[in-house]
């Protein structure tokens, strides 16, 4: 033990890391060649990807794009291996729209474009400029698609005007876009199904009646009882009064679009109608169920647990058969309750049960201190849920929720089992039943799979964007 005393005279400044620890060298070393096992795997992966592309690409590139039947393709290929993309050129419209009338293709296309506007307040929350730009781009793409679809001038003009107005609103008064989101369910229903404009307006009026009754009685009866009274009045309106009033109004001012029956829905139109509606409806229902399951009130808790466990214990297909067959027995005779709507309702309930469990996981992950701090500040139950716990729990649950949504969207193909024309099974079988295309195999799968991939991958990327944006621990 000599001299252990030491005093630093000067503090060391930070210096650059050595060359092996930065840039491409570091990246390669860390990610591809960090050890001999990883190096072998890297080489193997590169080789397999190479052979996959080498084997598959001629078939894709050689593909024939023109022709009226599979035999035309075979003739053009003259014995070589190659895809017959002509089927997509000929039948793409059925894959996208099912049997929706050709002249009315602008309606689902416009609805799809409006969907993005309706989502705007949620999609890029707080980024108003980004929303306005997105609305503008969607409008541009819409107009181009409508031209490509051969839509008549009037409807193109209508779409241009609508989107010019929406872009202006998004730019100047972004908060007003919420009204578009609120109106979208009725608006989308009206554009897609057509018929009298008064039907959807009447249905929305029911919600308005609920809100008005609730507001008026809330002071006297308290929130919960007032909600119940509002609901009863709204149900009375929907069941007995609405039809009378809307029929009368339609007699006075007959505005409407050509009615399209649910039977004519198919392909991705059907998938999107079911998927989007079920997704947007199942999130709020799932949140309520999750809160109910954690409630202190035994009855509420029991109902929620019972519902969630029942739905999770039953396969989706059972629910779909219930929708198509069983539900009819419980409804009054001669009620024509649309099959697509019935399927949407049951798919929504199915998804809500899963969302509820995902959200409950998020709630359980919150530290107790968050609830205590909210309580200690004097926030009441609903304020604490809305302002403190839900924003955090939903943020934690984003990956799980989006997984559920992706699963739900892909599960929409199961509606083929109750006779609806989904793109994968229903439409593909119908197209292949045509003698011209009999024997084709891969091409429809690739096309449908690609669209599903694009949609699901977008959802997944969006969820990652959202997670990054909501991250607040460091910037």
């Amino acid at each position: 033990m000599s001299d252990i005393s030491f005093v630093r005279a000067e503090m060391l400044p930070p210096s650059e890391p050595p060359i092996s620890e930065r840039g491409a060298v570091k990246w390669l070393h860390e990610n591809l060649f960090s050890g001999w096992l990883n190096s072998i795997l890297t080489v193997l992966a590169v080789v397999s990807v190479y052979y996959l592309i080498k084997g598959g690409s001629p078939w894709v590139i050689n593909g024939v794009w023109t022709g009226d039947s599979l035999s035309d393709c075979r003739e053009a290929l003259a014995g070589e291996s190659g895809a017959c993309w002509a089927i997509l050129v000929e039948r793409w419209n059925q894959f996208l729209f099912g049997f929706y009338p050709n002249t009315e293709y602008w309606r689902p296309t416009l609805t799809f474009a409006l969907l993005f506007v309706a989502l705007a307040p949620v999609l890029y929350y707080g980024l108003n400029r980004a929303n306005a730009i997105m609305v503008g781009i969607v409008g541009g793409v819409l107009v181009l698609s409508l031209i490509a679809l051969g839509t008549d001038v009037w409807h193109i003009l209508l779409s241009v005007l609508v989107f010019a107005a929406l872009t202006a609103v998004a730019w100047l008064a972004p908060k007003k876009l919420v009204y578009m989101s609120l109106a979208f369910p009725a608006l989308g229903f009206f554009i897609l199904w057509g018929g009298s404009v008064w039907g959807p307006i009447g249905a929305m009026a029911g919600l308005g009646i609920f809100a008005v009754v609730w507001r008026l009685t809330q002071r006297v009866l308290g929130d919960v009882v007032a909600g119940g009274v509002g609901l009863i009045v709204a149900v009375v309106w929907w069941l007995w009064l609405q039809t009378v009033v809307t029929t009368a109004l339609h007699g006075l001012i007959p505005i409407g679009l050509e009615a399209v029956d649910s039977d004519q829905f198919g392909g991705f139109l059907l998938s999107f109608v079911i998927g989007v509606t079920a997704i947007s409806a199942s999130l709020p229902i799932g949140i309520v169920l999750a809160l109910g399951r954690r409630s202190d009130m035994p009855l509420v808790k029991m109902l929620c647990v019972g519902f969630i466990e029942f739905v999770r214990g039953v396969p989706l297909i059972t629910m779909l058969f219930t929708a198509s067959l069983l539900l009819q027995y419980f409804l009054p005779p001669q009620t024509n309750f649309d099959l697509v709507l019935r399927v949407i309702i049951l798919v929504t309930l199915f998804s809500a049960a899963y969302i509820a469990e995902v959200v409950r996981g998020g709630l359980a992950a919150l530290p107790r201190g968050q609830y205590e701090a909210a309580d200690a500040l004097g926030l009441d139950y609903w304020q604490a849920q809305r302002l403190i716990t839900m924003p955090q729990a939903l943020k934690i649950s984003i990956p799980g929720i989006v997984s559920s949504f992706i699963g739900l969207f892909k599960d929409t193909t199961l509606v083929a089992l109750v006779g609806l024309a989904d793109p994968l099974q229903g439409i593909r079988k119908i197209v292949l039943a045509d003698i011209d295309w009999k024997g084709i195999f891969w091409e429809p799968f690739i096309f449908v799979g690609l669209i599903f991939f694009v949609v699901c991958f977008s959802m997944s990327r969006y969820s990652m964007y959202l997670e990054r944006k909501l991250k607040t621990d460091h910037h």
Partner: protein, 255 residues
């Protein structure tokens, strides 16, 4: 200085606890607590872990429910009546050991949340109040950051400011410095000392004996869910009566 602070108290009763008992299941955590706190009084509660001191102050804003006896805060008795509980909670501020700031909100939003939603204060006014208290705890420049970006000491000062924004009449501190690095303890204690000089009624569960000496009017020592000894700080530290208190003091002051 300590004496000047002590003069701000009056005879008005802020908290009255009579014959209060609490059980966790069959475990008797609080046993026959009787205590009255005068407005402007500053009380330090200390004791070994598991002695019920945190549970006691958590009963005062009903984060914990008591099963027997009576707690009256600012003239309002705490029962299962939710209206009374919310009323008491909006008058009583609480600072936690682990800060419990809301990580998804900025510092400013953390401070304005309760005034806006509970006191129905306009947003602009709430922000002014929040900036006033953030300046008071000396971190106005952090207002637009998120809690995760602040040091522990800064977070705890924000937590104090957040409680003060509700203009509480009583402040409860539940081991406010126990989760902090030694260098950060002082900045939080300084904030609390300043608050004491402003005449705030304070109940602090803490082991900071320097703080107790400097600002407390009364030190309460708890063990096994009951009050073992209470006295003025001078007397409490220099002349403890109970054997249990002597042992405790020798252990925490012995190093």
């Amino acid at each position: 200085m300590a004496n000047a602070a002590k003069m701000t108290q009056t005879d008005e009763i802020a908290i009255q606890i009579t014959g209060m008992n609490k059980w966790y299941g069959t475990f008797h955590v609080l046993r026959d607590i009787n205590m009255s706190v005068v407005r402007g009084e500053r009380i330090v509660i200390c004791g070994p872990s598991g002695s019920g001191k945190s549970t006691l102050i958590r009963c005062i804003n009903r984060l914990e429910e008591h099963q027997k006896g009576q707690i009256i805060v600012d003239g309002t008795e705490l029962t299962s009546d939710l209206k009374n509980i919310d009323k008491v909670r909006s008058e009583v501020g609480m600072v936690f050991q682990h800060f419990n700031l809301f990580p998804h909100l900025t510092i400013l939003e953390n401070c304005t949340l309760a005034p806006i939603w509970v006191r129905k204060m306009p947003k602009r006014e709430a922000e002014e109040v929040a900036m006033h208290f953030l300046t008071k705890v000396k971190i106005p420049e952090q207002a637009h950051k998120y809690p995760g970006q602040l040091s522990g000491g800064q977070q705890q000062r924000v937590a104090i400011a957040r409680s003060l924004c509700m203009k509480p009449r009583i402040m409860l501190f539940d081991e406010p410095t126990s989760a902090l690095d030694p260098e950060m303890i002082k900045e939080v204690l300084d904030t609390m000392i300043e608050l004491a000089h402003d005449g705030m009624t304070m109940l602090c569960v803490t082991h900071e004996m320097g703080f107790a000496r400097q600002v407390a009017n009364r030190v309460i020592f708890m063990d096994q869910g009951q009050v073992v000894e209470q006295n003025e700080p001078e007397q409490f530290f220099l002349n403890p009566q109970s054997e249990r208190t002597k042992l405790f003091l020798s252990q925490i002051l012995g190093h």
